[in-house]
């Protein structure tokens, strides 16, 4: 396992380098001028030139790229053009919020998705199954900004059960977590259902039933773990993207996360913050996928044996 993880980490390095080069070039090629975001309306040209020099924007692209990679290797992501603060500090400040939202959304997605997927697979073709399938389709199709606003109006304004926006306690997390997690929940429901239907038709399930095992034990111990491989893939992909920031959900609910930080930085051409968040997002995605790969092996002994060989 150790060798497998080491190999995977080695594979990751060129991916990160590629992501950084592409994002660097894209930001430089994009029209716009970061200095104009900093000087207001009544600037003088002299100030603009001094600022440009200070931020190394007057240097050729290759030199800037070289300086950027040299700093990355030293572990320095630079300072934000706009706030002047270290990029690492900016990201780390937002990271707990992003993490809480991502975990909250994933908990909602897994609990709701696996539960509904499991139940519907037990009653295929029933009214319940059909209703949940329609709802799951709606969940996959509904845009986040629409779901978010509907939740805000319903639970925050009309019913008054939950604070419409903001962050802090668990009560603030419910609506954004449901908004963000609902899409994954719908997908997980559909995947769990189809995987469970396949698993429940297997010989070993019949054997378990003939042994006289209680139904819940058959479900939880035998059927569910064997249906989790495709579900785990969705969890991995979605969790990775949630950790990279959910811009729409964060904007609608006033949630100060990495997604909004990245969006603001792109809008104001704050290159160091854009690069920092891109690096962070790529690493999050890669880490989560690595963990998911390892978990495959934990769940499925066949994969474990394959990797071992």
């Amino acid at each position: 396992m150790g060798k497998y993880v080491f190999n995977r980490v080695l594979q990751v390095l060129p991916v990160i380098a590629g992501v950084l080069i592409i994002s660097f070039v894209l930001m430089v090629v994009l029209p716009g001028d970061p200095v104009l975001s900093m000087v207001g309306e009544r600037y003088d040209e002299n100030t603009v030139e001094i600022m440009r020099k200070k931020l190394n924007l007057d240097k050729p692209l290759m030199i800037r790229m070289g300086m950027f990679f040299e700093n990355i290797i030293k572990g320095d992501l630079g300072n934000s053009f706009i706030s002047g603060r270290p990029v690492v500090k900016e990201i780390l400040e937002k990271l707990p919020n992003t993490f809480v939202l991502a975990v909250g959304a994933m908990v909602v997605a897994v609990l709701v998705g696996v539960f509904l997927g499991m139940v519907t697979s037990l009653f295929p073709g029933s009214w319940f199954d059909k209703t949940i399938l329609v709802l799951a389709l709606t969940g996959v199709s509904a845009p986040v900004f629409w779901t978010g606003l509907v939740f805000i109006l319903l639970f925050g304004v009309y019913l008054g059960w939950l604070p419409p926006t903001g962050y802090g306690g668990i009560e603030h997390l419910v609506l954004p977590a449901f908004t963000l997690g609902l899409r994954s929940a719908a997908q997980i429901t559909r995947l769990t259902r189809s995987a469970m239907l396949e698993t429940l038709g297997q010989d070993y399930i019949r054997t378990a039933q003939s042994k006289g095992l209680p139904w819940w034990k058959i479900l939880i111990k035998h059927a569910l773990p064997n249906s989790m491989i495709p579900v785990l893939t969705v969890i991995g992909t979605d969790f990775g993207s949630y950790l990279s920031g959910a811009v729409l959900t964060e904007s609608i609910f006033g949630w100060p996360g990495v997604g909004r930080l990245a969006l603001g930085a792109i809008m104001s051409r704050d290159f160091p913050v854009v690069q920092g968040t891109v690096l962070f997002m790529a690493m999050m995605f890669i880490c989560v996928n690595l963990i998911v790969d390892i978990l495959y092996g934990v769940i499925d002994p066949r994969l474990r044996a394959e990797r071992h060989n």
Binding site: P31, G32, S37, G40, E41, K54
Partner: protein, 514 residues
């Protein structure tokens, strides 16, 4: 078995929601911002939002009142010499910074020096370059500014190199805030001032919390706390207000009618006049808008009155760039809607079949529906306008480089003086490098005279003359001066309209139930 599962699910959902009942409201005033501020360093206060927030924690020598007047603040009184070059300020006694140290004339000098200091790299140094010796100080030829003289702790003289009437207004702007030099190293994070509110915590992208400065020299805030939550979405802000989590809301223009009819809050909706102008800049350097007749046709073919009535609640038609309250004349004729004349003008200048052009718009313009209405008006006389939407930074760069033939933009006053609607927007050196490439030596002369003359009838008539020239030359399509509709909760009293953005410090607002 199905019902067994359903029961478990329902119990789970119920427990989750029941455990998350809405918390009781926070104490103090609860307001919102659409985006975060950049920081608390006055030397870098270039945007309206940061300027508004800075005015809570810093004092200035003078401050804007409710309307266009200036009121004393740190300076209890001031006088101007007859030649218009020397201001003498008396610094109020018993004024303290948040750390308890007294505010003296030396602090004023240090604050202004810091803005001019090349090391600060302040984009706002233009505000103080008129002070005698400022340029030498900036160029490193002098270690002090000759025009800033401290007579004693409570007396300060500021000498200008030439008479410049808006200077006193500059002193009320966010970048002229008096800072406590002892906290300058971390000033962008932790404000170092002596204003009526003290910062408690700034959670970037989340909220900014203040408490009342109990040692404030003047009449301080009525409420003990003030919190700004950063909520980017306009609809979410409305929902927060409706849910009772905000005490004041600036209503999005598309929602004004709904709020006016609101059974609970309809009566609390108030119109707040602002000093601004919304316009379409026409690039006067390149065809077709280098021809004044085409520019006139663009103005005459827009039914601005109809669009204003239907789409821009509360706005006033613009008669030139200067708002009526600063023009000191309210009955100036606006350009009429006359598409026939516009068509004739187009024919005269060689566009009988109309023309094609582009209108650039920056950011996610809330007024996009208005621009589409313009597009329709122009197409009626054969002017096909393609709307080019880009993000704010690209838009701003393009305008600076003179790229867009037309662009939709607005200007909000830094200070309540007509000069602020003339010099930065139409003075040749400014317009030719940053805006729509309009140059008129006659107008330049008038603007320079306006800057040097003291406030009075002669200056007012020059302002009116400049406004008339611009109305004749139409370097812009003059649209409107647009205010905002605000609504406060019924528990909130003491709301007073302020004309200038940084005049509002939330001192008089009070909540009935604390």
């Amino acid at each position: 078995m199905l019902f067994y599962f359903l029961k478990i699910f329902m119990v789970f959902v119920f427990c989750f929601i029941a455990g998350c009942r809405n918390n009781p409201p926070e104490l103090g005033l609860r307001l919102s911002l659409s985006a975060d501020i950049r920081g608390f360093d006055p030397a870098h206060a270039v945007d309206v939002r940061s300027g508004k927030i800075m005015s809570l924690v810093y004092d200035n020598l003078v401050r804007f009142g409710d309307s266009t007047e200036l009121v004393p603040e740190i300076a209890s009184r001031w006088s101007l010499s007859l030649d218009g070059k020397k201001y003498e300020f008396t610094i109020r006694k018993g004024v303290f910074f948040h750390d308890g140290s007294p505010v003296t004339a030396h602090d004023v000098v240090r604050s202004f020096e810091r803005v001019l200091d090349p090391k600060t790299l302040s984009p706002q140094r233009w505000m103080f370059t008129r002070i005698d010796g400022a340029l030498e100080f900036m160029d490193g030829l002098s270690s002090f500014i000759a025009g800033l003289v401290v007579k004693n702790d409570s007396s300060l003289i500021i000498s200008l190199s030439a008479p410049f009437s808006p200077f006193i207004q500059y002193l009320a702007m966010p970048s002229s805030a008096i800072i406590n030099y002892r906290g300058v190293d971390s000033i962008n994070e932790i404000p170092s001032g002596g204003g009526p509110w003290k910062l408690v915590k700034w959670e970037r992208g989340g909220k900014i919390q203040f408490i009342r400065n109990e040692n404030y020299w003047g009449e301080g805030p009525r409420e003990p706390r003030l919190v700004f939550r950063i909520i980017p979405e306009a609809m979410t802000r409305s929902a927060e207000f409706e849910a009772g989590a905000l005490d004041l809301l600036t209503i999005p223009s598309t929602e004004v009618q709904r709020w006016k009819k609101h059974p609970e809050h309809g009566k609390s909706v108030v119109y707040v006049e602002e000093l601004n102008i919304w316009y379409i800049g026409l690039n006067c350097l390149v065809p077709p808008f280098d021809d004044v007749r085409v520019r006139k046709a663009m103005n005459l073919s827009l039914d601005r009155e109809k669009h204003l009535r239907l789409l821009v609640p509360g706005g006033k038609l613009a008669s030139g760039p200067v708002p009526p309250v600063l023009l000191k004349r309210h009955n100036v004729e606006t350009l009429p809607y006359n598409p026939k004349k516009a068509l004739r003008l187009l024919e005269e200048c060689g566009y009988p079949d109309g023309l094609e052009t582009e209108l650039w718009v920056g950011g996610g313009s809330e007024m996009f529906h208005v621009i589409e209405a313009f597009q329709s008006d122009w197409s009626a006389i054969g002017i096909n306008v393609k709307i080019v939407q880009s993000d704010w930074n690209v838009f701003k760069s393009a305008v600076r480089n003179g790229q867009p033939p037309m662009y939709y933009l607005n200007w909000t006053a830094d200070y309540p003086d007509a000069e602020n609607f003339l010099y930065p927007l139409f003075y040749s050196a400014e317009s030719m490098t940053k805006r729509n490439r309009y140059a008129n030596p006659l107008l330049d002369d008038i603007i320079l005279q306006i800057q040097s003359l003291s406030y009075g009838t002669e200056r007012t008539s020059l302002v009116q003359k400049a406004n008339k020239i611009l109305l004749d030359e139409v370097p812009w399509v003059f649209l409107w001066h647009k205010g905002n509709y605000n609504v406060t909760h019924s528990s909130v009293t003491g709301y007073r309209n302020k004309l200038v953005f940084n005049a509002e410090r939330f001192l008089s607002l009070e909540k009935k139930n604390g």
